[in-house]
Symmetry: C2
Subunit: 386 residues, 2 copies
């Protein structure tokens, strides 16, 4: 399966929205011009068992009341789930697991705070992804590359976003401005002007993705998400709520910047959820507007609106959100990454497969202009337990 020039790599992503285990299998190679090529073999999104999802969710929602045993246990339980997802993917695609050169495992983020508070003159900027690479490697028998963000933060970077190097290699264009947009739990964009060099890329989190909408849906309707954006479409905008949420300094602050559920969590909207004056569909409508507006504003302020926007992530299936984006960005051409052969849900998994490929080749994974790190780093540690 792996000729001398190509490597079969599996990517594994579990985002902050906890909507499943995204797995993708792709073959990477270098063409005669030295450019990296990717052939997508297969992908799947595996369910995360409720008990595990629930435990992770409570870590993220209440990070101040944690039992260490839960973190340690999840660090071992997640790789077991991942191992079974990889085997399922192999079985569905007729791949022998022994042909997989490496697994690029993002791990589950449970803390991400790249801001530089200080303790005893030491920066406390940090990020924490759990799921032990040693364990996955011992179980699957494959090499595992993991912990992609830490080295960048150690050199003063934000440790995020890491997708730009993937976007640059596979989606940038010589004669067209490209913006890639991923709407996961959090939304992020990569801005690549036509023919830009790696150093000219900018990329950052724009603000919420599905996280606030999903929380409101669970809380008010007991549903996991707003299917096709139907609830939002049936509601009315609450101007005061939108205005208050838009006033968060993060939204218009200058990149590099990155965020997570530390900022965009239920606490942010609890007062509105508890206020009887607001109907739940109006809250969902407003949060959908908020999500679209924060994306559009960031594109307008920090990029050119006249661009092709290649959208991916679960949020792009929210048709109402997509309509709002089109309405707010009339000069942009919004397409989905599916049109580029990259299914929306699996883009990040492919990205971490590619980062693992780069790590094995000894190539840096961070884009300094994006993360703000003081140097290029090889992203990821390598486990090879057997």
């Amino acid at each position: 399966m792996n000729d001398s020039n190509s490597m079969l790599i599996c990517g594994l992503m579990t985002g902050t929205s906890l909507d499943g285990i995204d797995c993708a299998l792709a073959k990477f190679s270098v063409d005669s011009k030295g450019k990296h090529q990717m052939e997508i073999i297969s992908s799947l999104t595996d369910e995360m068992p409720f008990e595990i999802k629930d435990k992770i969710s409570s870590l993220i929602v209440s990070p101040d009341k944690v039992h260490i045993s839960d973190i340690s246990m999840l660090n071992f339980a997640l790789p077991k789930l991942f191992d079974s997802s990889i085997r399922k993917l192999c079985s569905e695609s007729g791949t022998d697991i022994a042909d997989i050169v490496a697994v690029g495992m993002h791990g589950q983020t449970i803390w991400h705070d790249p801001t530089a508070d200080r303790l005893r003159n030491m920066s406390t900027a940090s990020t924490l992804q759990i799921a032990s690479a040693s364990v996955l490697s011992a179980l699957s028998g494959t090499k595992v590359v993991a912990d992609f963000r830490s080295a960048d933060i150690a050199l003063g970077g934000q440790g995020a976003p890491l997708v730009p190097i993937f976007d640059y290699n596979f989606l940038s264009c010589a004669d067209e401005d490209i913006i890639t947009l991923n709407i996961g739990g959090i939304s992020n964009i990569t801005i690549m002007p036509a023919g830009c060099s790696e150093e000219e890329i900018s990329a950052f989190d724009t603000g919420p993705g599905n996280t606030l909408i999903d929380y409101a849906m669970r809380r008010a309707y007991g549903r996991e998400y707003d299917r096709d954006g139907k609830i939002a479409r049936s509601g009315f905008l609450i101007p005061d709520m939108l205005e208050e949420l838009m006033s968060l300094p993060y939204i218009k602050s200058k990149p590099p910047k990155s965020t997570g559920r530390e900022l965009f969590n239920p606490d942010l909207i609890r007062q509105f959820m508890l206020d009887n004056r607001y109907l739940p569909e109006d809250i969902v409508r407003t949060l959908t507007e908020y999500t679209a507006l924060t994306i559009a504003e960031n594109i307008k302020i920090f990029a050119s609106e006249k661009a092709t926007i290649i959208a991916s992530g679960g949020g792009i299936r929210n048709l109402f959100l997509k309509e709002l984006l089109n309405e707010k960005l009339p000069d942009s051409k919004i397409v989905t990454s599916d049109e580029y052969g990259i299914e929306g849900d699996t883009k990040e998994a492919l990205c971490f497969a590619y980062l693992a490929y780069r790590r094995l080749l000894g190539l840096h994974g961070n884009v300094q202009s994006v993360t703000g790190a003081s140097g290029k780093v090889l992203c990821g540690i390598i486990a090879d337990s057997r």
Copy 2:
């Protein structure tokens, strides 16, 4: 500094007793008979700043009331301390840090529970050492090998002890029964009958090391430890207390077994500390007796008393504890590892340097007869961020 056959490796250990950062630098090579050789270059024990020690201590003592940010922050702060300890060691020994092939970093254990509780049919056996290898590698510019215990646990092992492969290579003897004893926070022994094979080694934690004595010293005297065992020597044994502590099933349970501050923590002796009938020196005396007795009993039950016991670890400087050991094991010859060129405090640091060496050579690090794992594993992930 590194000829074709030898590698300069730094080992870093911070134990559960939090008594400092043990660093050791050694050159490893393979001799003409294929046997591993170790030349110790230098070692030091660096202080751990009070704020960091305090934060780690509260994680260990109250694992149920943790803020994730503390774990994440320590995961980044510890490698910064380690980087500065390595540079100090280099400077003191006239070593160029660029000559160090790799750092074997144990990391700070904050959870270790290799027992097999189950959640959703998954074993929750796990271990958690913090201090990001990616961060240390980014800062020091060296390769870092870390997370030595996880793969063994993933294959059903206890993930501990890991020192036996070091003991076997450097301290076992063809015509003498050897028992190595390390008295750190927890005490452990490696039993190597004369001329034994790797599969014939047994090794396990016997119970407390300094952890209970140190806790009582801090609580009753505001001191970090019982210097030379003077307080213990001035007290009287409390038979009821000793009897109750000896009744813990762990003490005489059959190996493989391993333990930590999950069992041997302040809760275990709080009732005695709070009881006005007991004098503090009597409590310290009893805990010292308890520590010696648990070591001696385990040697008597699971090994041969007629052996050379090579002792190491901070506890061996407790002269009263050493006397008690001699008294309880009259047929053994107790020596310190110093006599073998291995200073007591740095043995574990040297062990993790050696495990890193083995990892780089692609050699297993666990001894299956000791940990109980179903297979040999390469212990440790490799970070090489720059």
